[in-house]
Every structure is written in C-alpha cells, then in structure tokens.
Amino acid sequence: MTCCTTCAAPAQAATSTTAAGRPSARQESAPANGQETPVVEAAMIPFDRLPLSDTCWSLSTGPDDRIYAAACTEHIGGVAAYLMRYTPAAELGKGKLEYLFDIGEAVGEPADNGRATQCKIHYCFMPDPKSGIFYGATHLSGAPRGDMGYSWFGSWKEPHRSFRGSFLFAFDTRSDKILWTDLCYPWEGSRCMALDAERGLIHGVGFPRDHYFVYDLQERRHTDYGRLGSVNPQCIWVDSRGNAYTTDDWGHILRFDADRRRLEQLEIRTPFAPWSEGWHNVSYDVVADPRDPDVVYGCSWNVPSHIFRYRMPSAGRGVGEMRDYGPGLPGAGYKELGTFFSDHVGGLVFGDDGYLYYCASDMIREAWEVTSDRHCWVVRMDIDTGEKEKLGIIKIGDFRVAYVSRAGRTRSGRMLFADVLNKPTRMYEFQPAVDTRRPKVSPPLRMWG
C-alpha cells in the first residue's frame, strides 16, 4: 500500500460546489497573448514504484467502487503490465494506491521469457458487479527483454519472440485473489473488450489482424467472427439486450447480434468533419447514458474527434439514431498538422450532475517526436443542449498533462483520468463541482474497457 503524493503540486481540497456548478479553477500565469489559461484543481498519482512504466491505457471502476488501472510498459522491452488499484480519500491525491500484481507473472508469461511482453491492458478492463470479479485482458507491443522494439507483423507466429497472445485474468475483488487466467486470443493482443455479464460473453477485437471475437466465460474458449478492417476500433459497448457494438475503419456502426451470433454492418456512421471522408473514424471512447441503457455517448479516434450520441436500435430493428455534437474541443476546425496525439479526445465520464466530462488535448506537434505547448483540457458538455465548456487544463505544478486515454469514477463522483506517455505512468484525480440545480444522476458501472 502506498499513500501517493501529488508530486510538485500541493494537495488541493476538492473543488467546492457552487450554485452554478462552475468549478473553482485556478488561473495559471498569463501567457504571451495576455489571456490566462484556467487550470482545474487536480492531483497527480504517479506509479512511482514502476519507474519504467510509460502508459496507462486502461482505467476502470471496479465492482467494489475502487479504481483499477493498468501500469503499462511498452517502450522498453522485458517489462510486463501491473495491475493497480486506487481508493480515493476525501482529499484529492491522498487515497490509497496499491500495486496488486505483475500481470505477466500472473498469466504465466513472465516478462523476461524472451517473448514480446504482456506489457499492456488496452481498453480491456471489465467489472462484473454480481460476482465481484474484475476481468482484464492483455495486449502487445512491448519488446522481448533486450530488444528495442517489437514488430508485430514481422514476428507473427514466430516461434521464439512472437507475442503468445492475449491472456484474460479474473480477479476476485472480494477476496483479492486471481481466480483463473486463460489465453483468450492466441498470437494477438486485445485492443478493446466489453462484458455481457448476463450471457457470460466477452466481446473483443484483436490486434493486428483486426478480427472480432467473442470469448465464452463458461466454456473458456473464443470464437472468431472475422475481420473488421485495418484500423482497430478502440471501444466496444453493449446494449440492454446484450448486443455489442463497435465500428469499422469508416465509422460504420457494426453490431454483433447476440441472439443470431452474427456481426453486421448498420447503415449509420459516427460523425466526422465535413472535409474528411470518414476514414479512421473508429470509436475511441464510449460511455453509457445514465438515464437510458440503450443510449451511449462517444468520441471518434479522428482529427478532429467528434462527440456523438448513439441511440441503439430497439428490439434489433433499424439502425438507431446518431447525433453529432461537433468537435470534442469546442470550436476546433481544420488543423494542418493535427495528429491523434496532439488533438486527442478521451476520458469520457459522466458527472453526478449529468454533464459529460472528458479530456481534449490541444497541442502543437512540431514533429513526430516533439510536442510542445502541452494542453489537455477538461471539458464538460451538456448532453441536452450540446453546449461545451472548457473548464481548464490539467496542470500540476509545472507539469502539464498532454493525453488522457480513459476515465473512471466512483459512486461519490470522484473522477480519475489515465495518462499516456509519461514515466512513470500515472493518473489524475479530479472532483468536478456539481451543479445543484440539475437533477442528480447515477451513472451505471461501465461494462467495457
């Protein structure tokens, strides 16, 4: 157990509730243009005991209302992912941080076994509230120990170095025991997953072949339903009937019909910018509507990423309804050098006030490796009006956050954001102010990664 620190920034009390629900944002020193950039009050929780970890691709609320995160190490060979758990305290950043276990060792693929490592959990956390089990599945692309990189195409099924496959683990949050592990998808990583707890099915997408598969928890075996395209969707979600949804390369909604066990393309697409043809408009992050189990809000993995609402078709008929809320970063237009890193949108999570919160990067990337002017905004959106408000950037002391992959929340409304590309990897804790004039909502437990 570790009580984490808030690094350079002094611990801040949770933001106070205001009548207007506007968080009390600090103002950072005035930039050259004379305008101050607001900063939200947040705490940083670095995974200090994992000094080589560099990304946190998965963060989810567990069935025990604690936050689970994956400390991933993909840029140095020979290190496996670690499962982390965080229990927030009243004061931001003062919660209990636990290093639960080395996932490579847990699944029987220790990081120094000469193969590409079990280095990540990539959007593949799934809590089962009934059983208290927290599921996770591994992903590539960490190199074997001693190698600088891993070529997933060049090493496909190569007998010595190749990634052995995605392993699923079932962690019992009630007893703190690993109940079982299984190779759920051989030779490939799992990009994203969703749990249909009623049917005991886990829906997944593999990488690099981009196939859709379904893992049966009872039979402990997977079935492959064929290829989606070339760009992995980054999210699968399920409706109230157990149908699963994701997208193809062009943002077409794909539905896995749970009764017919068939993957089908619906004639409806996720929204994209008018100058774009919609390629790469795969789903990136999706959260369930707190008021309707058959409505989700999501964003695309594109530049600019658009926020959308998708009402899934009732009783399997039709294609559903899509609403485009426009770019995730309010006012974002065409950007000649926009990239998936510098203009990223992720970390979607609902607040108790029914606002949709998320993180939107707005940075300048001079070259592939160089990003300066780090800005990661916390944005909140009114899902009824579509109005978006930039609350402030996440900045802890002099450290500016750049990229947030996923978010989770506790029942008390505390939000945690997962960071990517800082060593050691880390997360950020944020308590949004609640607009007391708005009806309180209770967002459901997120059943997908």
């Binding site: 290093y99 990189g149 195409f153 190569e158 395209g229 089908e264």
Partner: protein
C-alpha cells in the same frame, strides 16, 4: 506459481534488470531507425492498390460474408473476372481501363455458396464457373456442384459523369457429379471444353461448351485425399494428383488418363500433407509453378519431361494459396494459411532467387492490410491481381517493380 497480491515492487529492481542498450536508441534517430525496421514488414517493392467490390460509391459493395474472392481469371482484353464464396456466390468483372477502373457485379448465383479455383474465361463477355457447397452449407435437397456460364458486359459509356451499368445473365449448364461439389476447373478454349474435378472422389470430367454435353473419365482418388486443383498447359494437357500424391496426366489427343510415377515433392515424413494448393503456367519457361499446401514449398513441374524440382520455401507460412506469373517470368505468390497473416513472395528465375517481400498493404482506394488471399491472376498490362478472402474483401492489384535492366523481357521505359 502463487502470485502475491499487493506486494509492492521494488523500483530499483526494474532499473537494475534493465538490459544495457545503446543510449543512441533512445534518441530521435534511434526511434526513426526502429520505425524503418518495423516498416520493412510491408511489401515495398512494387506497390498495391485495392478496389472495393462495387461500381462506385453510389452502390453497396458485395455483401459481407459473401465477398471472399476465391476465383479469378483474366481475359486477353484486359478485363478480370472474379467469383466469391461465402453465404452466396457472386460473379463480378473488373475493368482496369479508364474511364472505368472499377468493379461491376454481374450475377449472384442462387443457392450457391462456394466457387474456389473454378472460374475460367471462355470468350469475350463470357466466363464459366463451377460451384461446391461451403462447409456447413449443404442443404438436404442439394443436387451437387454445378457448372454455370455467366455472360454480361457490365460496363458502358463512362463511369465518371454517368454510370449506366449492366448485369450479367446466368445459364446453369449442368451438375457434373451428383452429390459432390466441384473442386477445380480449367479450360481448353481450342477444344471448347472445360475440365473439372469433383471434391470428394476426384471424378474427372470434361464438358463440351458447344455441344453442351459432359463426359466422365472416372475417379482419381477414392480416398478423397487428392489435391483440389487441375492444371492445364497450352497444348491442352491436364495434370492433377491422384491417390498417393501421384501425379496424373490427361492427354486430350489420345483421350488418355494416366497415373504417373512422379509424386508431389516434399520433405521426408511430410508426404501425408503435401498437396497442390495453387499453380500457374509460366509461358517463357514452359513450366508449371506449383504452391504446396502442406509446408508452403514452391516447386515446378516440366510438363514435357515430367521433371519436378523443389525451389524452396519462401516464407515460414505453411500454404501457398495464390500464384501468378508476371510477363517477365517472375512468379509472385501469397503464402499463409486460413486465419494467418500472409506474406507475399517472388521467385526470379533469372537469378534463381526466392524472396519474401512482406505483408501486402494497399493505400488506394483504401488503406488496407492484406492478410488472406485465395486467388490470383495476371493482367495483360503487367499488373497482378490478388483476391482477398475475408469477411469483407477487396480486390488487390499489385504493380511489380521493373526488373533490373537486361533481366527478363520487360524493360523499363526509355
């Protein structure tokens, strides 16, 4: 091994265990080098484009689960014909020439689910195909695989400003072998006949396209272990395999079907798995190049001398599912089994080099990796077509790089 939950890791251990790597690898140049190495996984010699199986974006492509391109054949006029397998067989035509450069669906064959290695160009605007039942798709009333003639133009006028499009007509010719599917089909246009093979007992037959009558020459392999391929040479001699992996030859002049002493070349102990997976006749050498199903070998058969020669194993994949011959004698192929990530290779007869070219990737009309292919054909302008075989498939078109000056018959333009 028991995993202790919640034991805090010692950070120093990670630092101490870190292998010693050159600091240069951490800087920008190091990363660029790394990415160059990773990029080498793709085919970068020559280039690929792909075409969706639709006329233009006004139309839907051939449906998912029915678009795996399992047969291809090119006509001398430059048009390419394809047939798909899955829930339904579709026959399409691709016209590579402006103003088209597009695919036109010709026909959907009612009740048919599989057409594999079974499409031949008969004459202008006419192809013949043969069908079988896809795994699990055999109905109780299924009569057997059938021969079809599909005729149609598909293209008129202009595909840019207007796009009137024609469909084909389907004529069911016959069911050659009751209760069995059709595994292979080749055509002897000089004799106006197609030769075929049934998928279980390897019943060998030919169908006269003018007289519309069928003649059977008996079963080649009652053990059902034959290669599901027939090969034909320009003089009309047909080759296949029979029981025991022996080669079979049919001489149309003498109407003689004979079992040869030669067998499929393979490694010791691997004869059990050796089959002909794909083949192509290469006119410059007069050789049949053959891809192996069991181990992914490439070998040749000289139809005149019956000499077989094992050329090697171009990749670590265990099948060669598609082969095509370029005009300069180079042989291009796709190696990889079902569910695999294929690799493309080339055999250069002039230098006797067998080279793995990598994983195909098209960037036009779609950015798409090519993982599985079940068919290939060469176009008259030197392009090589590969039929993707996926839940939702595309036609891949490969433009080989020019060979070195002085090699082969094709020279780089002045």
């Amino acid at each position: 091994m028991e995993i202790k939950i919640g034991a805090e890791p010692d950070p120093q251990t990670f630092l101490d265990r870190r292998p010693e790597l050159s600091p240069k690898l951490q800087d920008r140049e190091g990363w660029r080098l790394l990415y160059r190495h990773k990029r080498n996984a793709y085919v970068t010699e020559g280039y690929f484009i792909c075409r969706r199986l639709r006329y233009n974006s006004q139309y839907k492509p051939l449906p998912d689960y029915s678009s795996a391109i399992t047969s291809l054949t090119a006509g001398p006029d430059g048009t390419l014909y394809g047939a798909t397998s899955g829930e339904r067989v579709h026959v399409f035509v691709f016209n590579p020439a402006p103003p088209f450069d597009t695919v036109a669906p010709l026909a959907a064959l009612e009740g048919e689910t599989d057409c594999r290695r079974c499409l031949v160009w008969e004459k202008e605007n006419s192809v013949v195909c043969a069908t079988r039942a896809a795994p699990g798709a055999k109905r109780a009333d299924w009569e057997g695989g059938a021969l079809y003639r599909v005729t149609g133009v598909g293209f008129y006028a202009d595909a840019v400003q207007e796009w009137p499009r024609g469909l084909g007509e389907v004529e069911k010719l016959c069911v050659p072998v009751k209760g069995e599917g059709l595994a292979a089909l080749v055509i002897d246009r000089g004799r106006s006949r197609v030769y075929g093979l049934s998928d279980k007992t390897a019943e060998f037959y030919f169908y006269d396209l003018e007289r519309k009558c069928i003649e059977r020459r008996g079963s080649l392999d009652p053990t059902w272990l034959h290669s599901e391929n027939l090969m034909i040479t320009p003089d009309g001699t047909v080759f296949g395999t029979a029981v025991g992996n022996r080669l079979m030859r049919y001489d149309p002049q003498a109407d003689k079907l004979e079992m040869l002493e030669q067998t499929i070349p393979t490694w010791p102990g691997r004869a059990l798995y050796a089959r002909i997976d794909s083949w192509v006749y290469e006119p410059l050498s007069g050789l049949l190049y053959i891809g192996d199903q069991g181990d992914g070998f490439l070998w040749t058969l000289d139809p005149r001398t019956l000499e077989t020669r094992l050329l090697g194993k171009p990749t670590d994949r265990i099948r060669i599912r598609a082969l095509a011959a370029a005009h300069d004698g180079r042989i291009f192929g796709m190696a990889g089994q079902v569910g695999d990530m294929c690799q493309m290779f080339v055999y250069e007869p002039q230098t006797r080099q067998l080279r793995n070219l990598g994983v195909p990737q098209a960037t036009v009309e779609e950015r798409r990796y090519g993982f599985e292919f079940d068919s290939a054909a060469a176009g008259p302008q030197g392009q090589i077509y590969f039929g993707e075989s996926e839940r939702s498939s595309r036609l891949f078109i490969y433009f080989p790089s020019y060979p070195a000056a002085g090699v082969g018959e094709v020279q780089a333009p002045q």
